[in-house]
């Protein structure tokens, strides 16, 4: 109930007037049309199930990890999907450290509702042993920079991370057939999650007294807006969730108009996510092949694209490094030490170490997440 004002960042009256009058002639402060979406950049970490989404200045990271846990009593044969949000105080002046604020809770709830209630992720396939052991999939969303419209960015990050997440395969064995064997990724190829459809959140803001509609509001537009509507829509035209938590009232026709716009946006965003994930999985498949030096040669020949060839060179370097596994570990630990002590120092060091170590340091960025949760590749089995 308290601490709300700390969560609110106020614009000056002049800035507010400026945004509103500019919008009256269909101009937005960043030069977009009212119904234009910002550019989305989706990147992936080296680890499976990590993504990084940039929506204009907004920057969100998503991590997906899995753990074997006991299921809920009322849902004995369903896996769990948990969503955690973290608003770093670094991301904006309005976030205070510690207890998650209302906006963090709201963001988590919207992403959660979109994914869970529309049954986007097949939770029944996450059951290992009914009533005893299921997979709990944990999505961590880290807000790195707040440039407005965190919800859409966080939702895309969650989807992208879910699509690239792999969990180790589990089989039942032992004398009574009740013992769970978790196969490490080297032994059996880890399995992707079954994602039926992609619920994409689209945020609309209503500005000014006459409720001028704007899609994908920036940070300053969010400070001015009178109302907001978030529609979570998939590419098939189904509505998965809607949130319009109070604010300026709008006629029903405006809501239907928003939903139509949202389903069009959702189609293009779904395409973007899918193509990014596809690019990642081909890269991942190529990386797999690099483990055997003879095959690696073949692929680098087969790679027709210049960009792809570059990648393979880097990959080959990686495999060389993996042969000197201990050495690599040393490099990594050195890097972490140096980056902890001094950021600039760490940068210089990594650039000195050339391309391969640059890849390493990039991977280091993604090794976040709580320590007792495991990504697919660093999986350990425990009870």
């Amino acid at each position: 109930m308290d601490g709300r004002l700390a969560n609110r960042w106020r614009l000056t009256v002049n800035e507010k007037k400026f945004i509103e009058t500019a919008l009256a002639s269909n101009l937005r402060i960043d030069g977009r049309n009212p119904l234009e979406y910002r550019k989305i950049i989706i990147k992936f970490g080296r680890e499976d199930g990590s993504s990084e989404v940039q929506l204009g200045q907004t920057h969100v990271m998503g991590f997906v990890t899995g753990q074997l846990v006991q299921p809920y009593q009322d849902r004995q044969n369903e896996g769990m999907l948990l969503i955690f949000t973290e608003f770093s105080p670094m991301a904006g002046p309005s976030f205070d450290p510690g207890h998650p604020g209302e906006s963090a809770v709201e963001l988590g709830r919207i992403v959660d509702r979109g994914l869970r209630d529309s049954r986007a992720v097949d939770t029944e396939s996450l059951c290992v042993l009914s009533g005893k052991l299921v997979w709990a999939i944990r999505i961590d969303l880290h807000i790195v920079d707040n440039g407005g419209n965190l919800i859409d960015a966080a939702n895309i990050a969650a989807l992208a991370a879910l699509l690239t997440f792999r969990r180790p395969e589990c089989t039942l064995g032992g004398d009574d057939g009740q013992e769970v064997i978790v196969h490490p990724p080297e032994e059996r190829e880890p399995l992707p999650l079954i994602v039926h459809h992609l619920p994409v959140a689209i945020t609309f803001a209503f500005l000014g007294s006459e409720g001028k509609l704007v899609v994908d509001p920036t940070h300053s537009e969010e400070a001015v807006m009178a109302g907001r509507l978030i529609a979570t829509v998939n590419a098939n035209g189904d509505i998965c969730a809607i949130q319009k938590a109070g604010g300026e009232g709008v006629p029903q026709s405006a809501i239907m108009h928003c939903l139509q716009l949202a389903s069009m946006c959702a189609i293009s965003i779904t395409k973007k996510i899918n193509s990014a994930v596809e690019a990642y999985s081909t890269e991942r498949a190529l990386r797999k092949i690099k483990r055997h030096p003879t095959v690696a040669g073949n692929v680098s020949v087969a790679g027709s694209d210049v960009k792809e060839q570059n990648k393979t060179v880097e990959q080959v370097g990686g495999s060389e490094l993996s042969r000197h596994h201990i050495e690599r570990l040393k490099v990594v630990s050195e890097e972490t030490c140096s980056s902890r002590s001094n950021d600039n120092d760490g940068d210089i060091k990594s650039s000195e170490q050339g391309g391969t170590s640059r890849g390493e340091s990039k991977a280091m960025n993604f090794l976040g997440g709580p320590s007792n949760w495991y990504g697919a590749s660093t999986f350990q089995y425990f009870f």
Partner: protein, 241 residues
């Protein structure tokens, strides 16, 4: 599970487009500036409003409008399993936020700068549609407290089960996993201020369900207006006018 039987009756004997029985009572908390109890069938909610009063925490004071705060809680005995729930869990934080923003939109906050209005809502019995009931109770309590408002806000939910749109879902229907659309409207302005939905629904079906919920809101608005009118008459009578 069958939610509408072949005779066209729901689990609690209602027709698909029928609302639960409404009951409202103004002035349930003696010490509060305004209070109300609102019942929708077995869902029972109590709301109390304090204010406009001086801002307790000076750093939160807003110089051009009133500060509206809202706290939603569920009594431990409100649900079937009596479990002690941690205060301030995600769900109630979100509902508090939703109620606050909905009420903020209809209160004429610019008339009461540098003051604060507190809305406390508590669920006494939960049988689906607590969010709607809370908003209706809060509207009544605000009206009882004499706080200037643009319009009443009323809320109602609707769902879609067994390919039939259903008005005002109860707990069993709500937890069936089907879509649940909660709408809050400003009846006189005919504008939608609150809209929440979950689960999956095609866009044209959604329009029908939303329309149904809006009709429900309008019916509730009529009822609330009657209650307020009755209350005012009582007050008039007591003053001997």
């Amino acid at each position: 599970m069958e939610f509408v039987n072949p005779e066209g009756l729901r689990l609690d004997g209602r027709r698909p487009l029928e609302m639960r029985q409404l009951r409202a009572q103004i002035g349930a908390v003696a010490k509060a500036d305004g209070s109300a109890v609102f019942e929708m069938g077995n869902t029972k909610v109590i709301a109390a409003v304090y204010g406009p009063r001086e801002v307790q925490n000076r750093s939160q004071q807003i110089n051009d409008q009133a500060l509206v705060r809202c706290e939603y809680s569920m009594a431990n005995f409100s649900t079937g399993d009596r479990r002690r729930k941690p205060k301030g869990d995600r769900r109630s934080t979100e509902i508090s936020l939703v109620i606050r923003q909905t009420m903020e939109a209809c209160i004429l906050t610019h008339l009461m700068p540098r003051s604060q209005i507190d809305i406390y809502v508590q669920v006494l019995q939960a049988d689906g549609g607590t969010r709607s009931a809370c908003i209706n109770a809060a509207t009544l309590a605000l009206a009882d407290a004499g706080i200037p408002m643009r319009d009443l806000v009323t809320s109602c939910s609707a769902g879609f089960l067994n390919s039939t749109p259903l008005l005002d879902l109860n707990y069993v229907e709500d937890s069936a996993g089907g879509p649940d659309v909660t709408v809050g409207i400003l009846p006189k302005l005919d504008k939608v201020t609150l809209l929440q939905m979950d689960a999956k629904l095609p866009i044209d079906t959604f329009e029908n369900v939303m329309q149904l919920a809006v009709e429900g809101c309008k019916a509730i608005a009529n009822y609330i207006r009657e209650v307020l009118l009755e209350n005012t008459k009582q007050l008039e009578y007591r003053r001997g006018l």
